[in-house]
């Protein structure tokens, strides 16, 4: 097996057995990026000097991720490296600091290969709204990798890094993981610090990882999770030894299948794969039952009102004053005109649309009808999950209603694109952890199974996901390219 085909656990084993050096591994990934990424376009910025970074002053050969090459979604601030959120409004921004997640991974020896493409400011489900390039799905280069963490998912699927950081606000880790046949973990809201990650919707944004295996995700979570004084939404919930609690069978566990996720809108070929996945969970010993999450149909509109409202607030800081390109002072009459110019030139259509939707939902006369209403419906959605988790331990669903669609297919119809989040948005609104794992293929394209658990139950969630993964092996299949 080529070095770059190995997962985190396998790569570490090679280091321990002294079969290969970290420098060789980093070199192998850098040269694969050079060879393959022109076809995939997952990287916005490649750290050509990564091999030298192996000798980082704060880590050593004993560090848990020493020499492991990773990459970051381009909304994670990386000191001295470009951080653009895939937007022209931050085109030349080089943060002078590292996000907490970036610093934590550096401190345990991980080597940063570079920054990965995303939908602009993580707004999208296909990575097509990136201002710079469209990332391709390694399984079919005419198709989207999903979004917004499409760069992260494609890079992991194409073995262009061992794992990647990512963010999930309404499905942005889980859906691209499903489309690209890799593992995508969205922990509980607040599990991992958001300090230094460019915000989209503050009550929904969740930091997570996209990995080659569940076992790898467990290791990454151990390193990233925890309270951070710089992010007040991170609590003091215990960070467990996730990698030591993985299971191989599911006896005694109850898994609920929500009937509202199996309506006619779900592609029949995707449903077939998911049903087989559920049968597999049963075979492993889980007790399967049908449950109901009655407010599911309101999740997407609720999500878009809340997310857009928070977006309109979070995007207000981008005005060309403190960071990003700007018109020259001489070119404008006054400050307000400068704001208009910089924002108009700097933001893409989807960002503008969502800012306007949020501005509208929060404006005088409409805030009660839209924003307050959505917050109330969010209470119902969260209660659906709370009630369900009294009866079952986990929920299993399809991650997405379809497999990867073609580039250009949905970009001109915003509502179409929003409906891609139909199965992922509910968990985001409730703040519960979710993972998407490869469950098989439909006409050659990956299908993801989504597992959900109560808040802060990542240990159990990863344990179940691992059991499924080990017993099926779908995650071992890799895309091939004609170069």
């Amino acid at each position: 097996m080529g070095i770059t085909e190995l997962n985190l656990v396998e790569t570490k084993k090679l280091f321990e057995e002294k079969k290969v050096s970290p420098q060789e591994v980093v070199e192998a990934y850098l040269s694969r990026i050079k060879k393959i990424d022109p076809k995939i376009e997952s990287y916005l910025f490649v750290n050509e000097g990564a091999t030298a970074d192996v000798q980082h002053p704060t880590s050593n050969i004993q560090s848990p991720l020493f020499g492991i090459p990773i990459a970051h979604k381009d909304v994670f601030c990386t000191a001295g490296m470009p951080t653009t959120a895939a937007s022209k409004i931050l085109a030349d921004y080089h943060p002078p600091f590292d996000a907490t997640s970036v610093a934590k991974l550096k401190a345990v020896g991980a080597v940063n290969l570079g920054k990965l493409n995303t939908d602009e400011f993580t707004m999208g489900a296909s990575t097509e709204t990136s201002a710079f390039q469209k990332t391709r799905n390694p399984w079919d280069l005419e198709r989207v990798p999903g979004g917004s963490s499409g760069g992260s998912a494609a890079a992991v699927a194409a073995d262009l890094c061992v794992f990647a950081t990512a963010t999930d606000t309404g499905g942005s880790i889980r859906q691209p993981a499903s489309f690209c046949g890799v593992t995508g973990l969205k922990p509980t809201y607040g599990r991992i610090s958001r300090y230094g990650v460019i915000s989209m919707a503050s009550s929904l944004d969740t930091i997570g990882v996209i990995t080659k295996t569940v076992a790898d995700a467990a290791i990454a979570l151990e390193i990233l999770a925890g309270q951070d004084s710089r992010d007040a939404t991170t609590g003091d919930a215990l960070v467990e030894k996730y990698s030591e609690n993985l299971r191989t069978e599911l006896k005694g566990l109850k898994i609920g299948i929500p009937k509202e996720y199996f309506v006619e809108g779900l592609d029949s070929k995707v449903e077939k794969v998911i049903r087989e996945g559920i049968a597999q969970l049963k075979k492993l010993g889980a007790e399967i039952s049908e449950i109901s999450l009655p407010h599911t149909e309101f999740a997407v509109p609720t999500y878009y009102v809340i997310a857009s409202s928070e977006i309109s607030t979070n995007m207000a800081r981008f005005d060309g004053v403190r960071y990003g390109p700007t018109v020259a002072n001489e070119e404008v009459e006054n400050l307000i005109e400068m704001y208009f110019e910089n924002r108009t030139r700097g933001f893409g259509d989807e960002v503008k649309r969502r800012i306007m939707l949020g501005t509208f939902a929060l404006s005088a006369g409409y805030a009660d009808k839209f924003y307050k209403k959505a917050l109330q419906v969010r209470t119902f959605i969260k209660r659906d999950f709370d009630e369900t988790f009294k009866k079952v331990d986990f929920i299993a669903t399809p991650t997405a209603p379809t497999t990867a669609f073609k580039i250009g297919e949905k970009i001109d119809d915003p509502i179409q694109m929003y409906l891609a989040d139909i199965f992922t948005a509910p968990a985001s609104l409730a703040g519960v952890p979710g993972i998407s794992i490869p469950a098989g293929f439909a006409e050659g394209l990956p299908v993801g199974l989504q597992l959900l658990a109560p808040q802060f139950a990542e240990s159990k969630l990863l344990a179940v996901a691992h059991a499924f993964q080990i017993s099926t092996g779908h995650h071992l299949k890799k895309p091939t390219f004609n170069l």
């Binding site: 921004y93 002078p96 809201y189 007040a232 939404t233 609590g235 309506v263 006619e264 809108g265 407010h295 149909e297 309101f298 509109p301 609720t302 060309g320 004053v321 403190r322 960071y323 700007t326 002072n329 404008v332 006054n334 400050l335 307000i336 005109e337 400068m338 704001y339 208009f340 110019e341 924002r343 108009t344 933001f347 649309r353 800012i355 306007m356 939707l357 501005t359 509208f360 404006s363 839209f370 307050k372 209403k373 959505a374 109330q376 419906v377 969010r378 119902f380 969260k382 209603p401 379809t402 297919e409 949905k410 119809d413 915003p414 509502i415 179409q416 409906l419 609104l429 409730a430 808040q455």
Partner: protein, 126 residues
């Protein structure tokens, strides 16, 4: 929904349900998204729109708001709002002063002229 039928790639029951509810919401109180409203919102958001963009966004926003109006079919009387989803409240700390070590690097991120560690921009009025 405005005018003719919008075709969804996601066909079937799911879409039918959305359209049913959007129609219901429309019957209750149709929200008129006009070009003037869009221009007003864009101004609040500090975004200039071209004529073509005004037209395009008016149409798209109209459809999106119609889609969102289905929330009005949910009876939420007396239901509290959820702002914070993992139960954290009033996270406090002592007001201790720390000197941020990278002041000059931070301020160097701006392209505007710098005077006394301040970013110089145009006057807000005039």
């Amino acid at each position: 929904m405005r005018g003719g039928k919008l075709t969804y790639h996601l066909s079937g029951r799911l879409t039918e349900r959305f359209l049913e509810l959007a129609e219901w919401a429309g019957k209750m109180r149709r929200m008129q998204i006009t070009k003037d409203l869009i221009r007003h919102i864009a101004k609040l958001a500090r975004i200039n729109l071209t004529e073509a963009e005004s037209k395009k966004f008016t149409k798209q926003m109209g459809a999106i708001v119609g889609f969102i109006e289905k929330l009005n079919s949910v009876d939420t009387a007396g239901i509290p709002e959820t702002n914070q989803v993992n139960g954290m409240e009033n996270v406090l700390r002592e007001d201790e002063i720390e000197n941020f070590p990278k002041m000059s690097e931070l301020i160097a991120c701006s392209h505007h002229p710098i005077e006394n560690n301040q970013i110089k921009v145009k006057k807000s009025i005039g």
